[in-house]
């Protein structure tokens, strides 16, 4: 498992709808903030890069110092973004794919308004379990 990892789902309107610090490193508030800042900044790059490929998994698209941003863009232009410090493309890809499936299940909920915050604790648990499994 990566020592530092921050997973975030950004809706098509560029709003974060799910955030999770999934790294094993000790949690520090300023670090978590930096993670979000990096991820937020990486959106600019994703926005251009997403249209250059048909693949959903965009691999590592940005980095700041030793933090790498990997992105997975769904067909609905929801972006699953992972900030990590380890290089494990395969694991990250699997992680993204499984989280995508979870996200689709959330979308299927008729009470969920697409683009709004994901508050399901079940989702949270599953994502963290996946992070432990793959990252």
């Amino acid at each position: 498992m990566a020592t530092t990892a921050c997973f975030i789902i950004v809706s098509r309107n560029d709003i974060p709808i799910y955030e999770a610090e999934v790294g094993s490193a000790a949690k520090r508030e300023d670090a978590a903030q930096l993670h979000q800042f990096v991820l937020h900044a990486a959106l600019d790059i994703v926005q251009d890069l997403a249209w250059t490929t048909s693949a959903m998994f965009l691999k590592a698209i940005d980095r700041f110092n030793d933090l790498v941003v990997s992105v997975y863009v769904t067909a609905g232009h929801t972006r699953l973004m992972l900030l990590h410090d380890s290089r494990n493309d395969d694991g990250i890809k699997s992680f993204f794919q499984e989280v995508h499936e979870l996200y689709i299940r959330i979308l299927l909920n008729p009470l969920y308004l697409p683009g709004s915050r994901i508050t399901s604790s079940h989702f949270d648990t599953k994502v963290r379990a996946l992070a432990r499994k793959y990252l």
């Binding site: 709003i15 937020h40 700041f64 308004l113 915050r117």
Partner: protein, 1164 residues
């Protein structure tokens, strides 16, 4: 590292611009901006100033197309250790700027300037520009000569022309100096060193190496000067030589420098001809520059080269490449030792990302810059940090409303009420609350350090307003104190664009939100129903009249909030708002009414409220809060401040369009006496309503109507009184009486009342919404029609609602009603009074008594007997007051009782008063005989006949379903004449509403009460005319009323009247009974002899006719006898069956008349 570098930087001549003496900052900026226009001086323009002293080393100088480039550095820069390596880093010229009025002594200026120039040893040309010299200074200065240039006061164009000339002169001088330097360098050869070399020890090997490298470095430097001189071809030639030499000597740093210079020369040479080939060339060469720089430390040159290339390529199409370059550059930050280098790197990264359109990336690096500034912990750095952070706010969407341009906010998503949820979502785009809070907190911190209270206030306000749910109460308190601390340092009356406390508007309250009438009348029935406007929310306010807007304020934070003043903020200038002060405790919300007075005609738009809180005046827009609430509803924002404060009672409304109309009259009402009118059930009372015109215009037209529930409780209102008082001038008053009658408490109410009145307590019935209200529509005068042709607008009318607060107390309660019947046989007399014109006087005669009770005994004209009918009402008094009951029956005076009317009397018939004490019950008798029962009327039938020509009307009545309706109508008519009045105390009186009770009581016996028998029988004594004394005696009421002598043949006749519309065939029989009820005509013991037929008389009675049958009786024994006629009706029709209440069609119908008494007196 240097900021703002690009490939072309190598060709720019650095000029230090130094203020000499006192120069006000604004003027300095102004002079500097003038200089900035001459950053490029064409070579062709300087040829006149240029003199070739010796052969120019710049053989290929493009005199027609080339130019010199200047880079002005305000305040200069410290000499760089790398200026030998890149000559463009040297300060090659100095321009002093002097503002003469503030530096009167020119000598001092000259000396100050020369002192300043000493700091710049590399400067080749020095000039001091003195602006705005006085006359004496001009004379003085012209003698000084030298480097001091005086700019005589002139208009801007002249000055600029002057300045241009001066700059061209400077350019020419520089060019000549460059030539001189190059010639000198070529001949003598200078030692060029960089900080890299100085570290190496001076071993012999090193010295040899340095000598070898000297030539290459000299060539590179000459190339630099060629570039500065604007001769790229010459530069390229020298660079090429330098490249070869440094490659031979392994001098990679200078090799890279020569390569870089070569690229710059290429670009200058191809000025304005950019194509992909050139781009590829530049990219290729720069990659090798970067590679060569990488071989040697320091990293700054590699980073600078990377940034230069990135800047060159910085276009959207090449974004990926640029991003790669920039990411690589960003990685270099770790290796940078100097903090200021890192600062410059981040600044450059932010700029380049910004140019690329990557706002978020730019914001990210800007924040890094700000963090570096904040680490310096001094005020200037904090100010810089604050400014840099302010740039990021747009990307993080936390910008101050002041910085959001008007049209951006105006493009109203909020205007559209039917927002799709997608666009709602877009309202809350990039809600990265963590980031936003961090940025705001950093702005707050930097503003506090920088000593900018307003910025600090604004940041703290934004933090509090938007992110209070994420801030702990302690943090909220901290922010609150930050706000007040900042406010302490702000001048009072400071305005901030960012509101601190959330609120919303809830409802517009107005005395009238109605339509403007479209005609001269206040209401025209044709326009009333249709919608008056397309938009639902239209509001009309009147000049000079107080209006109130309800606004809900919420303080969701953990500190008490005092709003020093809050008032409506109106864009149009025709509204005077009144400020109020509000205290909002922790976590609370409050609805306040903000009032104001419209001052002029026109539209009014209320955007929000102006709030003076925490020492700063801010404007809170309703729209923002609407959006916030919308977002809260969709789960897009953190929380709804109102709901979290336990509010949410008021419905949020959008601000309607409001227009202000000219002054209108204003009626003010109050009910004379106490506010609430307390009445017992059924009580009738007059109240007075006092109306006053409080407006400035007189009331010209008025109309009163009723509205609300229980409208029928208002019996009358004197609209005439009001109308007669018109026009009601301003200040005039009028009082109108209104007669009220309390309604009955409903069933549910009665239950409540019963429960509560168990101990006799007064039950107040004061539920709102039960009381009626008077609607007074009124209007002022029509506007003076100056031109009748124009379609003048009619001023709107107004509506005044006068609610009549009626409290109904439980009064007398009704227990039951029943009908009491009693029949008294009639005496057989000489006449048949009952048939034709019976009246009460007759009956009085007949009974022979004037007592009250005897009056009640009435002859039933259709039956022939005396009857006594009472409606008995049982009433109870659960209240604690005494009631006096008076029954009055309104007697009918209808005109249709032509032949069968019982009563001609039209006066009301009053009876004795019954008193019911508290907690007791009593019975009240209501005589029914006074009614002319309409269903018996010929006219009634006649009416039906007309509608139903065949004459089967009765059949219809009885057989059809409309029977009930007909009966009900007649009963209602009957009941409406009975009034039960009560009186309690001195001034409380009313009417008991017992209609339903009477109705129920009469329902069962209605047929008997209201319908006649089909046949009426009557007996009459026949006296011969030869006995006039008897006749007269008969006329006397007391002596011989219907008495018959025994032992005398008494001729009698029986009259049978057919009350139906059909011929009735029947079998008539007459029985004569004695007191014991035994038949005394037949049998062995017959005491009466007879002549004629008494039984089985077959007769046919035509409709509505009567037939007489005569017979004679001879009474043997004096006493009381009764004669009873009975008829067996053959072939009875349905009608008769129904009347007889038989169902079987075969059963014969016996119609029995009432007994008639015959008093037989014996002969004395």
């Amino acid at each position: 590292m240097e900021p703002g570098v690009s490939i072309e930087t190598s060709s720019m001549i650095r000029v230090a611009v130094l203020p000499i003496g006192e120069v006000p900052p604004t003027l300095l900026r102004d002079y500097f901006s003038m200089l900035l226009r001459y950053q490029t001086i064409l070579l062709s323009a300087i040829s006149s100033f240029y003199t070739e002293h010796q052969k120019s080393p710049f053989a290929h100088q493009p005199w027609d197309s080339g130019s010199l480039r200047f880079k002005f550095i305000l305040g200069g820069a410290p000499p760089s250790p790398w200026e030998d390596f890149q000559s463009n880093r040297k300060i090659l010229a100095i321009i002093g700027i002097c503002h003469c009025p503030s530096s009167p002594d020119l000598d001092t200026v000259v000396s100050q300037f020369s002192a300043a120039c000493k700091g710049f040893s590399s400067a080749l040309v020095e000039r001091c520009f003195a602006f705005c010299p006085g006359d004496s200074q001009l004379e003085d200065g012209s003698r000084k000569g030298g480097n001091l240039m005086l700019f005589p006061p002139a208009d801007r164009d002249t000055q600029e022309l002057h300045l241009q000339t001066m700059m061209q002169d400077i350019a020419a001088s520089l060019l000549m100096k460059f030539e001189k330097w190059v010639l000198q360098a070529e001949s003598t050869g200078t030692i060029l060193k960089t900080p890299l070399d100085s570290q190496s020890s001076l071993s012999s090997e090193e010295v040899i190496k340095a000598k070898k490298r000297r030539l290459g470095r000299a060539q590179k430097t000459i190339g630099d000067y060629c570039l500065l001189a604007g001769s790229p071809v010459d530069a390229n030639a020298h660079y090429t030589t330098a490249l070869e030499l440094s490659r031979l000597t392994g001098d990679f740093f200078w090799l890279a420098g020569a390569l870089e210079g070569g690229v710059c020369a290429l670009l200058i040479d191809r000025m304005g001809q950019r194509d992909s080939v050139l781009e590829d060339e530049v990219r290729y060469r720069y990659q090798s520059v970067i590679v060569h720089y990488r071989k040697v430390s320091p990293i700054t040159f590699e980073l600078e080269a990377t940034l230069k290339l990135a800047r060159f390529l910085c276009r959207r199409e090449l974004a990926k490449e640029v991003v790669d370059l920039l990411t690589t550059a960003a990685d270099g930050a770790k290796s940078l030792i100097d903090a200021s280098d890192r600062l410059i790197l981040y600044v450059e990264l932010a700029r380049l990302y910004g140019t690329l359109g990557y706002e978020r990336k730019a914001a990210f690096f800007s924040r890094q810059v700000a963090q570096l500034y904040l680490q310096q912990e001094n005020r200037l750095a904090a100010i810089s940090a604050m400014h840099v952070l302010a740039l990021t706010t747009k990307a993080y969407r936390v910008q101050s409303t002041a910085s959001v341009s008007k049209n951006e906010t105006g493009s109203g998503l909020a205007d559209n009420t039917k927002m799709l949820h997608q666009s709602v979502v877009s309202l809350f785009e990039s809600q990265w609350s963590t980031l936003q809070m961090v940025v705001l907190r950093e702005i707050l911190l930097s503003a506090l350090r920088a000593g900018d209270p307003l910025a600090a206030w604004s940041a703290a306000a934004r933090l509090l307003r938007s992110y209070y749910p994420l801030i702990t109460p302690a943090g909220q308190n901290g922010l609150a104190s930050a706000l007040s601390n900042s406010a302490d340092r702000l001048p009072s009356g400071t305005r901030s664009a960012d509101p601190a406390l959330p609120f919303r508007n809830s409802a517009k309250e107005d005395w009238w939100a109605g339509s403007a009438p479209s005609g001269p009348f206040i209401y025209t029935p044709f326009t009333k129903g249709e919608p008056n406007n397309n938009s639902k929310h239209e509001l009309i306010w009147v000049v000079g009249e107080l209006v109130e807007v309800l606004v809900e304020l919420a303080n969701p934070c953990g500190f008490d909030l005092r709003v020093d003043s809050i008032y409506l903020s109106v864009n149009s200038r025709n509204f005077d708002p009144f400020p109020v002060t509000v205290n909002l405790p922790t976590n609370s919300s409050k609805v306040i009414a903000l009032s104001g007075i419209p001052t002029a005609v026109g539209p009014v738009t209320i955007h929000g409220c102006t709030v003076h809180c925490f020492g700063v005046i801010t404007e809170h827009l309703f729209k923002d809060v609407d959006n916030l609430l919308l977002g809260a509803m969709q789960g897009l924002v953190l929380s709804d401040p109102f709901r979290s404060c336990g509010s949410g009672k008021l419905k949020n409304v959008s601000v309607p369009n409001i227009s202000v109309v000219p002054p209108l009259p204003l009626l003010v009402s109050h009910i004379v006496g106490d506010g609430a009118i307390i009445l017992h059930e059924g009580e009738i009372r007059d109240v007075w309503i006092h109306l006053a015109n409080a407006g400035t215009v007189s009331v010209e037209q008025v109309h009163i109507s009723l509205s609300g529930k229980n409208q029928d409780s208002v019996i009358s209102f004197a609209s005439e009184t009001l109308k007669s008082a018109l026009p009601l001038k301003p200040g005039a008053e009028v009082t109108i009486p209104v007669t009220l009658k309390a309604w009955r408490l409903g069933v549910g109410d009665a239950d409540i009342a019963g429960g509560k009145s168990a101990f006799g307590s007064i039950v107040r019935h004061s539920k709102d919404g039960h009381s009626p209200a008077l609607l007074i529509h009124y209007s002022g005068p029509l506007s003076n029609s100056k031109d009748p042709q124009t379609n003048e607008t009619i001023p709107p009318g107004k509506r005044l609602v006068v609610p009549l607060q009626i409290c109904v107390l439980q009064g007398l309660s009704f227990v039951k009603a029943q009908l009491l019947l009693m029949e008294i046989p009639a005496h057989v007399g000489e006449s048949l009074p009952q048939l034709a014109h019976v009246n009460s006087h007759c009956s009085e005669d007949a009974v022979g008594s004037n007592s009250e009770i005897d009056k009640l005994v009435k002859i039933d004209p259709y039956r022939g007997s005396w009857g006594l009918r009472f409606l008995e009402l049982e009433l109870s008094n659960p209240t604690d007051v005494v009631f006096d009951i008076t029954v009055s029956v309104q007697l009918d005076s209808s005109s249709n009782d032509d032949s069968h009317s019982v009563d001609k009397d039209t006066s009301e018939y009053g009876y004795l008063t019954t008193r019911i004490d508290r907690d007791l019950s009593a019975r009240v008798l209501i005589p029914l005989e006074h009614f002319k029962l309409p269903i018996l009327d010929a006219s009634f039938f006649a009416k039906d006949d007309q509608t139903d020509g065949v004459g089967s009307c009765r059949s219809a009545i009885f057989s059809e379903k409309n029977t009930n309706a007909e009966l009900n109508a007649s009963i209602k008519n009957l009941i409406s004449k009975i009034k039960v009045w009560w009186k309690s105390g001195r001034n409380s009186s009313g009417e008991l509403n017992i209609k339903d009770a009477i109705h129920a009581a009469l329902r069962s016996s209605v047929m008997d009460v209201l319908l006649p028998d089909p046949l009426t029988f009557g007996f009459r004594l026949l006296r011969s005319c030869s006995e006039p004394e008897d006749f007269t005696a008969q006329a006397h009421p007391f002596t011989s009323k219907g008495s018959v002598l025994a032992h005398d043949m008494t001729p009698m006749e029986v009259t049978v009247r057919n009350n139906t519309k059909d011929m009735i065939k029947m079998n008539l029989s007459i029985a004569c009974r004695d007191v014991a009820g035994e038949s005394c005509v037949e049998g062995a013991k017959a005491t009466v002899l007879l002549a004629g037929v008494l039984g089985g008389i077959a007769m046919e009675v035509p409709p509505l006719q009567e037939i007489k049958h005569s017979f004679s009786l001879y009474f043997l024994v004096p006493g009381e006898y009764s004669l009873v006629a009975a008829a067996m009706i053959d072939d009875a029709n349905d009608l008769l069956r129904a009347r007889a209440r038989t169902d079987s069609p075969d059963e014969p119908i016996l119609c029995r008349g009432p007994p008639f008494h015959v008093r037989v007196v014996g002969t004395l």
